[in-house]
Amino acid sequence: MDKLKKLWCDVRKNRDCYLMLAPFMILFVIFTIVPVIMSLPVGFTNFNMAQPPEFVGFDNYINLFLSDKVFTKAIRVTIIFAVITGPVSYMICFLLAWLIDGLPKKLRSIFTLIFYIPSMANVYTVWKIIFSGDMNGWLNSTLIEWGFIQSPVQWLTDSRYVLGVTITVQLWLSLGAGFLALSAGFRNIDRNLYEVAYIEGMDSKLQELVYIVIPSMKPQMLFAGVMQIVSSFTAGTVAQELVGFPSTDYKAHTIMTHAYDYGWVRWEMGYASAICTVLFIAMYVCNKVISRLFKE
């Protein structure tokens, strides 16, 4: 009872904080928290949107891991995808943001725009034409012109290339949020720090990176890390738009594509929801590990 009273006292003392947080929180609860909570139990049901959900316990999860062969493939593809695109694109984001930061203002704006523009455009059509399987495809016609290949390669349907093509486009698209946040972070570093360090005799870019940049950029780096986890684990749209759905031999079939398949194609929302929950747990663990790394 006493504890409750103390809490209430604390809450009243911080009334202003709650007031300022309220507009965001009200909308956040209504449009994010409530739907999330409502969707949690769906994974334990059979739900086809037409009839009321029917409780089936852990059946969905058991089926998922024991009898769904495509899901096993999807896990593999997702892991390959996440392991390649996640770290690589994170490092590219960081490197580019860092390089750009040293440029004069005009050049900096131009390069930031060039690296960010893919995230703003709807570009699947152009990639489809670049990788198009006939001789009209840009890549094919270029390679034929230069004599590397004799006949056009089926980039988007040949099971050997599907994953590679998808990863390339994903990398191209993935600079987005992380890159912009990191370059904003670089703008926030106190310029005096560099001068002081210069006077103190620091002479290499590497030292600058270790002693100034990383310590002052931790919050932005964590943000970029989380965004990278989200985008690399939930990648699926790129594959669907580019190499079709389902992709040849399920070579670019990620967990998210699998969830899309069951959710929007077969209308088995219970099963789709179970898939998403598994993905969420994987991302949550990954996030915990990365946050731990940043705290140290």
């Binding site: 956040f28 969707s39 191209w172 989200v230």
Partner: protein
Amino acid sequence: MVKTNKQKAGNIITALLLIILGAFMFLPIYLTIVMSLKPQEELFIFPPKLYTLRPTLDNFSSMFDILDNNRVPFSRYLFNSIAVTFTVTFSQCVFVSMGAFVLAKCRFPFSKLINSVIVTSLLYQSNVIYIMQYAVMSKMGIIDNPLALILPSIASPMGLFLMKQSISQMPDSIIESAKIDGAGLFRICWQIVIPNQKPALMTLIIFAFQASWNMQGGSLVFQEQYKTLPTVITQISTTGIARAGETMAASVFMLIPPVIVFMLTQSQVIDTMAHSGIKR
């Protein structure tokens, strides 16, 4: 500062790296622009050219023709898009900034819990959420109403996370001294903290603008007079090389406003710390 040879070499490597990566990033966009300017017959030339012989705005005018052929004039869609985008961007910046400031700099009961809920919600991606969101909105009676496009986009957990991370870097001493001078939290937020967070705020504006400008609202709003541009463009655009010109024209057209906003916000991002007089 005298440049050493080592530094010169470093600069050259930097420049080369930026140019190569920049070319890779920009090439598809360049191709989109070129294709939107190509006349129909040039789309089939083999091998495809990296430039166009007779640039034309035909694709654009035929795109506008198709858009104007609906029961509602093109200008109505444009107006809807601008209204939705502006409302979302403005409210998101205001709400998110206040929330982020409080969560980053004040300690109060449940603040830790709220923080972790927001980050965790970023990770929960499920297609069932959209259905439940739809259910919530239909309970509120805002389906087929522009509010269905606006309200859910305002409280962006990503935006809040971004701002919170950036604000958390500000030294506490500034806020403390403002408190001692008698400023309330609201004033501290808008007069001291946010003006010092220009890089993050401009990033937030870009995210919000771009997300709401490109938002597909097809399943939320059905009346023609409430639809926004992306929805209508998805309706009319078909893939395939024959219609590629118009599709590219639409992509280029949709890209122009975000690029303008991007340029405007970037020019605002000056070296804030150097001007703000904050010393750690």
